[in-house]
């Protein structure tokens, strides 16, 4: 993922807070693993974040620690074993009755203990399953919220949908831009653009009084790209540029434009 995009879109902060969807999260994690400077910025962010939390710490009541300690205490204590004395006693009938009862009780205790252990294991397995299900539910909820939010961003009376048809340089290409002048957001569905080789990328530009201003790079495999909103833009333009983007548009490689 592009370092500039990560920094400008505040993805580092959102990554730290655990807000990103799985795909973006992986992109940021990969960028952090490969870019020492980005990693240093993230380390500093984490340090400040932790410091803020400690400056605003609140002492929990002692009973929470006690309850935690009790819940992790190993309850599987050894069953005490009593040693029999070696005195020479008369082994009469009473003794055998008592011994039999003791044996039954001991057997019962061992059986109960095993049952209890099995129940404990089942309970632990259930707890693990519940935790896994809860996590799945949270992920599903997060995905749903993301989808609902995207839908609201596009299906909104303030949004102007604009179709960008490819010109003679790329006649089969088409993309749809959703422009919201109130919230100043531009979203692009670029799935219909012809796939480029790895050395090139699409880039979008806003024409403001004749000056082309960069709105961002356009990936062809995405149907939801958030681009920079430019005030007073008169038209939107897509060009083909070298991979990584360009500071100025290569006008001869313009493949589509639409007037606002």
């Amino acid at each position: 993922m592009d370092k500039k995009k990560i920094l400008e879109d505040g993805l580092l902060e959102q990554y730290l807070l655990g807000e990103l969807d799985a795909e973006t999260r992986q992109g940021v994690a990969a960028a952090l693993a490969n870019d020492m400077d980005l990693r240093a910025q993230f380390d500093a962010l984490e340090e400040d974040f932790e410091r803020i939390a400690f400056e605003n710490a609140v002492e929990p009541p002692k009973k929470v620690r006690d309850a935690l300690a009790a819940s992790i205490t190993d309850t599987t204590e050894e069953t005490p074993v009593r040693t029999l004395s070696n005195t020479n006693t008369q082994r009469n009938t009473g003794f055998w009755v008592a011994a039999s009862v003791a044996a039954v009780v001991a057997f019962g205790a061992v059986w109960m203990y095993n049952q209890w252990q099995a129940s404990e294991e089942n309970l632990k397995a259930l707890e693990t399953q519940t935790a896994a299900l809860q996590e799945r539910l949270s992920n599903l909820e997060a995905n749903y919220e993301e989808t609902a939010s995207r839908y609201q961003q596009i299906n909104n009376t303030n949004v102007v949908p604009l179709l960008l048809m490819g010109n003679e340089k790329s006649p089969s290409s088409k993309a749809t831009a959703y422009v919201n002048h109130q919230t100043k957001e531009v979203i692009l569905n670029a799935k219909g653009l012809r796939v480029l080789d790895k050395d090139h990328t699409y880039q979008m530009w806003a024409d403001v009084e004749g000056e082309m201003i960069n709105m961002g790079l356009v990936k062809t495999d995405e149907d939801y790209i958030i681009l920079r909103y430019i005030d007073h833009a008169e038209s939107l333009n897509i060009t083909i540029e070298p991979a990584g983007g360009n500071d100025h548009p290569t006008v001869e490689n313009l493949i589509s434009n639409v007037v606002l």
Binding site: G10, E46, N56, V58, P60
Partner: protein, 188 residues
Amino acid sequence: MPSPEIHIALIKRLQQGDKSALLGLYDAYSKALYGIVIRICEREDLAQDVLQESFLKIWQKIDSYDADKGRFYTWAYRIAKNTALNAVRKSASLIQTDDLSVYTDKTVDLPTDYSELNGMLKKLEPHHQRAIELVYFKGLTHREAHEEMDVPLGTFKSYVRQALSQLRKAYPKGVLLWLWLVEMIGHG
């Protein structure tokens, strides 16, 4: 903040199955995490349950913590925040389905006011302070928080970035001042 060496040793012990290390991590991090949880829950009884549940989850999931990917506090914060948000959602849905005739006034349970923020955050401008409060201490996403503040998402993100950048500049100076004070007191 806890010393990294001590908490790395505690995490290793916990990963190796030494449950007592969990209490060590609790002693080191519970106050910071409770500061977050109580501000999300806004109810002491719920926050206490959430804190305990969070540490049990930390214990269950400790094998998935990878120190190379970030600090332990960040990882634990995500667990505590999600646990708190789920608990608040569950609690809200229970209240909605309650019989209103037996519903007791919730304000009775409201804890001491923890809304005021401390430390360097207090020195930020109000809108910067609010932005950090919403995403760090209330558990809101950037999208929810920008609506809450009624500013565009891009503007909200820039508030967060500006606030963090000001904190970054302020902290080293703060630490130096503290060291200077300690030195002065030491020399009496």
